[in-house]
Amino acid sequence: MRVFAVAEIKFGELDPVSIELLNLANSIKGDGTAEAVVIGNNISNYAEELAKYADKVWKIEDASLENYNPELYVDVLFQLFSKEKPDIVLVANSSRGSEFAPALATKLNAPVITDIVGLDTSNGIKATRYIFQGKLLVDILVKDGETSVFTVRQGVFKEGSEVGGEVVDAGIKPSITPKREFSQIIEPEVGEVDISQADIIVSVGRGIEDASNIELAEELADALGGVVAGSRPVIDSGWLPKDRQVGISGKTVKPKLYLALGISGAFQHIMGMKDSELIIAVNKDPEAPIFGVAQYGIVGDIFEIVPALVDKLREIKG
């Protein structure tokens, strides 16, 4: 198999997911090749780094590729892939990758499967992904298509070994004028509390039900000497400020204690807190995926557990 991985450069650095894509490529290529594509301006250093893990690295360099633009990405990748005819194209399931990959697939007339966590090429092509926010897994067979496109979940294919390949200039330039223009990057909001520095985090999810119940979490955080954070729906509803969001589009935290209250444990949330030293989850659903990352779990109602905990902690403190 000829497997191509599209590298991702973010804020001047090669995103580790690029190596993960190559790890996957190497594990499924059989007697074929794992090849990387890197797109941008002044990208030789990234190409060299990628070449450690790839049989070949294709450089697509142009001043107009300085900033990510999905139309230009689709245009240059289409030029390369129409010529090289890969069997499989791997793209990061990132804010960028998940945006341009489906458009690339339509242009290539190729099947596309997103957010995969497994890919088996031993007998046809079979991809594995989660549905229902992590509650079920599904194996999907690719029926036909010369090239298949997959977006790959980050953090899954961390293991791999070095290959040592060559870097070539693909000699490709953008051939279109995009209808979308980049204007600027917008920095995250900063608030008074930096949850990424906290030792103890009481984190609430949609299970908290209402803004007025945040107080309950605050009492517990006070009693523990910690801070309150939340999952995305809590922030979307305006119950906590944006800088308290834990997860892939919020903050990454690594406290000594992460108490997850009424949080289901969607992958986008878990990515932001899985490296906490101790994770304790309270959820009324015994099947909630959060119990897969927590060391301790309580299957129960936060409106019963939390007040009991606050009472006991206050007793101790006197």
Binding site: P70, S95, R96, E99, P102, A103, A105, A110, P111, I113, T114, D115, K126, Y130, I131, F132, Q133, K135, L136, L137, D139, I140, L141, V142, K179, R180, E181, S183, I185, I186, P188, E189, L224, G225, I235, D236, S237, G238, D243, I248, S249, K256, L257, I280, F291, G292, V293, A294, Q295, Y296, G297, I298, V299, G300, I305, A308, L309, K312, L313, I316
Partner: protein, 246 residues
């Protein structure tokens, strides 16, 4: 501004989810359906843009979407198009069905939810943009209409955003939190009854993929702490003490 919004009648991931006997589909009994959460934000955004700039909001639903389409009309959409095709998990077929169903429509903007809450493919929007060959952006958290263009902010990782300007017509997929979706009022429901809900039949071909197996993921289970709330609290405090956390 003529806006087309895509709305899916989707299963709630919090409902009881079981795999069917055949191991290839999800048992519909026990599932609770409602408007897909991300689409709710898309419909709200479309209505706001219309309130500001005039025009029409047409909501399109593929599959058994009648309840959801009625809800969108009650929120303030002007008319609805139902496309009675059952593409299941195949986003390509859904996008094809929408493309055909809207072939006679004039639009400046198409809005869709970033993904569906049941299958989480995040595909239909961008596939449709690709099929229509119009500019697109995903995970959009702000939309401002300028002269024949839209200025948008889309979400990146880690709290960062990215501002872009797209020429119209364009397709945007909307991220949660972009607005606060309105509740459906009784008046809205009454008014919705007289609005047009048209059925458009289309035929979609094969699709590229086939479901092999659906199954429950093996989970590394947390050690469970059981007992009354007081007992649980007691045990938790012991764990925290042992680790020097209190």
């Amino acid at each position: 501004m003529n806006i087309i919004v895509l709305a899916k009648h989707a299963a709630d991931p919090e409902s009881e989810i079981r795999v069917s006997q055949d191991g290839k589909s999800v048992d519909e009994r026990g599932l609770v359906f409602d408007i897909n959460d991300w689409d709710r934000y898309a419909v709200e955004e479309a209505i706001r843009l219309k309130e500001e700039h005039g025009g029409e909001v047409v909501v399109v639903g593929v599959g058994q979407t009648e309840d959801t389409l009625r809800k969108c009309l009650a929120m303030g959409a002007d008319r609805a198009i139902k496309v009675p095709v059952e593409p299941g998990m195949d986003s390509y077929q859904t996008a094809m069905a929408v493309k055909e169903a809207i072939s006679g429509e004039k639009f400046d903007l198409i809005l869709a939810g970033l993904m569906s809450q049941d299958y989480n493919n995040a595909l239909v929007g961008v596939l449709l943009a690709g099929m229509l060959d119009i500019p697109f952006a995903t995970a959009v958290t702000s939309i401002k209409v300028e002269d024949g263009r839209v200025r948008i902010i889309r979400e990146l990782e880690g709290g960062f955003g990215e501002e872009n300007v797209l020429s119209l017509p364009a397709l945007l997929t909307v991220q949660s939190g972009i607005n606060e979706p309105r509740y459906v009022s009784i008046m809205g429901i009454k008014r919705a009854k007289s609005k047009e809900l048209k059925e458009v039949s289309v035929s979609v071909e094969g699709g590229y993929t086939e479901i092999d197996r659906i199954y429950t993921p093996p989970v590394k289970k947390a050690e469970l702490i059981e007992g009354s709330p007081e007992e649980v609290a007691e045990k938790l405090i012991q764990i925290l003490k042992d680790r020097g956390l209190i």
